[in-house]
């Protein structure tokens, strides 16, 4: 790092190393088809990813409404147990993989990485385009499972065999499970193409002066999450293939000898727990694949809108990297009571609780960024504040579940449902919402309507907290997950009917508020207040493009040269309360910046 020290840069501009990859000619679109459909511009691909993810995400949202209606007002919407379990399964899988993963990596990753690192595009634009269309195909396959005989799989999003591929489960002996597994495999293929692009772009295509330790945390979060995904998704991929073989060809990877409804199946010798290991070897990093981009993005939102540098940048980067590494050695904390060797509990409880330390550091640093800041209560800031509270809540309940002995009574209850929705559902979604308000002026040149945004914020935050906070208490009582009928168990100390109705009403209202948000996006993209260049006065490069919204190629003839980190807010001596990354030291001679 010595060559990059601030003094060196000031003294000798030539010390900024040249580009690692020589500039390449971009394919400039000539027709509607190549500009908007089979487009190679990462920004358009990002928006395509985003719209597709949100479209299928709405199916997930409506599924959750129907589920909650069944739990609180059974009979109001007629459904049987099989349909209920199909809703549960599709809701979970859609939200985790097809909405959150696709939106953070495919959506935000594509839009922001090239802009933020100062590149004209992803390094492999064609592969990037193919990546989206393969993802699109995966979504179509998933959606088609609603229309096959027997309907989609109702195996729960974890797809545990043997039930996932046997006849006691909806879709288990039909096409439902087959299409789910095929769709996931296709998703992984598409993701790999995009993921390699994101990683290589960050490593190879940064502009001059953009050292790794000057990257905005958004890029660090998405980059690390993508690396995790490239290692984790293959486990899901092979598990899916093996289960498909068990299902279609009668192999026995995961299928022991079993007798079901009095009939002996032909399988013999497989291990259901092996599937769980593979699934969670993917599934736990998956939590951080969703969380790390949110961590990165929210750091930037807080810093910009508090007009203050992110506190402890280096610690924040290391925390992201360490969390990413540790996320590969904690997977079996999902399996404490799955029947694996009980001695594993000691190891996985220890690694799991260790991960709390770097995670806590991130929380402290977000809050310490607010300390002595100059906080603008813009919509991105409001959502960031809501994120911190939600994430702290969900993170702390993780200390219950991660501590193996405490997990024994709580696992498979509503405590788990409440915990993971707080920590990897609501918290990342709040970041997504905040960042849409933040980057909408960049994408469209206009602000989202502030008034509608405020209503959206209040309803979403209060609503989602009302859904999930009380739900933990159902878990303490021992209310088990995935029960089609509300039933007043004899162990329950108090009726669960009223609280379930309250939660359902909160869920309906919170969900409805998201349609208000979509309405706001549609209307504001045409009629919103004009934003102009860099309306939030941010330091990072995405706001330094030639045009707003940025056009193909992103920057002017010359790529920007970077002289400083992305967080020079309120530097003493500077005239403005921000110095953009491409401002040379000579232009702000009086500024006493400490960090580069």
């Amino acid at each position: 790092m010595a060559a990059d020290s601030y003094e060196d840069v000031v003294k000798n501009k030539e010390s900024i190393p040249a580009l690692e990859v020589a500039p390449q000619d971009l394919y400039h679109a000539k027709s509607f088809w190549t500009k908007y459909i089979f487009c190679q511009d990462a920004k358009v691909i990002g928006i395509q990813y985003g719209l597709t993810a949100v479209a299928i995400g709405l199916v997930g949202l409506v599924s959750s409404w129907l589920m909650r209606m069944q739990i609180a007002f059974p009979g109001f919407i007629p459904m049987d147990a099989a349909q209920y379990y199909q809703l549960v399964t599709m809701h979970g899988m859609i939200m985790v993989v097809y909405l959150l993963t696709a939106l953070f990596l495919g959506g935000f990753g594509n839009y922001l990485i090239p802009l933020m690192v100062g590149a004209r595009d992803m390094v492999f634009p064609y592969v990037n385009m193919v990546s989206f269309w393969v993802f699109f195909l995966a979504v179509i396959i998933l959606a088609s499972s609603y229309f096959v005989p027997g309907g989609p799989t109702g195996a729960g999003w974890t797809l545990y065999p043997p039930q996932a591929i046997t006849s006691g489960t909806p879709g288990g002996d039909g096409l439902g499970i087959v299409l789910m597994l095929v769709s996931l495999a296709v998703f992984v293929i598409g993701f790999t193409m995009g993921g390699l692009n994101y990683v290589i772009t960050v490593l190879q295509a940064r502009t001059r002066g953009m050292t790794l330790m000057r990257l905005p945390l958004t890029v660090w979060g998405i980059f690390t999450a993508t690396v995790l995904a490239l290692f984790a998704f293959p486990a899901l991929f092979v598990a899916g293939i093996m289960m498909t073989l068990d299902n279609m060809l009668g192999t026995s990877f995961f299928m022991p000898a079993i007798i079901q409804f009095g009939e002996k199946l032909t399988h013999e010798g497989g291990s259901p727990i092996l599937f769980q290991h593979l699934f969670w070897f993917f599934g736990h990093p998956e939590v951080y694949i969703v969380a790390l981009p949110a961590f990165g993005i929210v750091s930037d939102l807080i810093s910009v809108h508090a007009r203050k540098n992110i506190f402890g940048y280096r610690m924040m980067v290391w925390a992201i990297v360490i969390i990413g590494g540790l996320s590969f050695v904690v997977w079996a904390h999902h399996m404490y009571v799955a029947g694996m060797n009980p001695w594993f509990g000691f190891f996985f409880a220890t690694t799991t609780l260790i991960i709390a330390v770097p995670t806590a550091i991130k929380v402290y640093n977000w809050v310490l960024t607010l300390w002595r800041g100059n906080i603008k209560l813009t919509l991105p800031m409001l959502f960031s504040i809501a994120f911190i509270i939600t994430f702290v809540n969900g993170g702390l309940t993780g200390l219950f579940l991660g501590n193996v002995a405490v997990d024994v009574p709580l696992s498979d209850t509503y405590f788990v449902v409440a915990h993971f929705h707080m920590v990897m559902g609501i918290a990342p979604v709040l970041v997504i919402l905040g960042s849409v308000y933040h980057w909408f002026p960049l994408i469209t040149g206009r602000f989202l309507n502030e008034r509608l945004g405020k209503i959206h914020f209040w309803v979403t935050f209060i609503g989602s907290y009302s859904i999930y906070f009380p739900m933990h208490y159902l878990g303490f009582m021992g209310v088990t997950r995935r029960y089609f009928e509300v039933f007043e168990g004899e162990a329950f100390t108090y009726s669960i009917t009223g609280i379930n109705q309250f939660i359902t009403v909160a869920a309906l209202v919170t969900g409805a508020a998201q349609f208000l948000f979509i309405y706001n996006i549609i209307v504001s993209s045409k009629f919103g207040k004009k934003a102009g260049k860099n309306p939030w006065k941010a330091c990072s490069l995405e706001w330094r493009t030639k045009d707003v919204p940025p056009t193909h190629g992103n920057f002017d003839k010359e790529l920007p040269v970077v002289y400083r980190w992305a967080y020079d807010y309120s530097v003493p001596g500077a005239d403005e309360d921000y110095i953009t990354q491409d401002t040379p030291p000579s232009a702000v001679a009086n500024a006493r910046a400490e960090q580069t």
Partner: protein, 281 residues
Amino acid sequence: MFVVLLVLIVILGSVVFHMVSPWWWSEIASNWVGMDDTIILTFWITGAVFVAIGLFMAYCIWKFRYDKDKKAEYEPENSKLEWTLTILTTIGVIALLAPGLIVWNNFVTVPKGAYEIEVVGQQWGWMYRLPGKDGVLGTTSIKNIDDDNPFGLNTDDPYSLDDVLVDADDLHILIDRPLKLNLRALDVLHDFYVPQFRAKMDMVPGTITYYWFTPIKTGEYEILCAEYCGTGHYAMLGYVYVDEQKEYDEWVDEQMTFEEVLASNGKSDLIKIALNKKNDL
């Protein structure tokens, strides 16, 4: 500034909800008080952190609200503060983990004097098997299962004949005696869970899992299946009765042994083979 109020309401509201909530765990009926205690400890530590961070944040949002004539402080790093917080967090984590691991160690170490019962799960109901007079459960195999032999006992296993078979959803157990449940599933995953006992463990076809506990209160307790097992998962219920010795013996006497089941099905030839094996021992 409504948002400051909002943060305060959420933080303090959570605390108030916790204190007045009627939704809480039912009185414990097993020896796993350590699990409850660890939860309470975790509540205190995490609750304090939650309130502290929330209140600090509310203070910051109010105190450092935007003022166009002011500038934020410029302090990229403060390693002393960062390391202090890291060390404090590590201490907190150790304080949670250590007691947790001690309880887990107890949970996975079955005491010597524990008696054994087998629980069998299948879509969507329960069966139970007691070891009988010899105190040993006979071996089983999925392959042996048919209408005459629903548990799949090996007829040539000398320990099989006196096993007591309970083909019903309800189980009786003894108070104050450590009990090891051997868990078996015939088709898909299940999980034998009684909220008042706190303990649970998945039942996995192809292997036998277990857990142990000591019931400390007589009474009737509802069993819930805690691992999703297909369409009928929610209806996979049953009862455990914790009995004094006398009631327990009466219940056991009403059940049939494997030998009696075979005899009633006219399989006396199998019984003879099994008895010969037993005499060989």
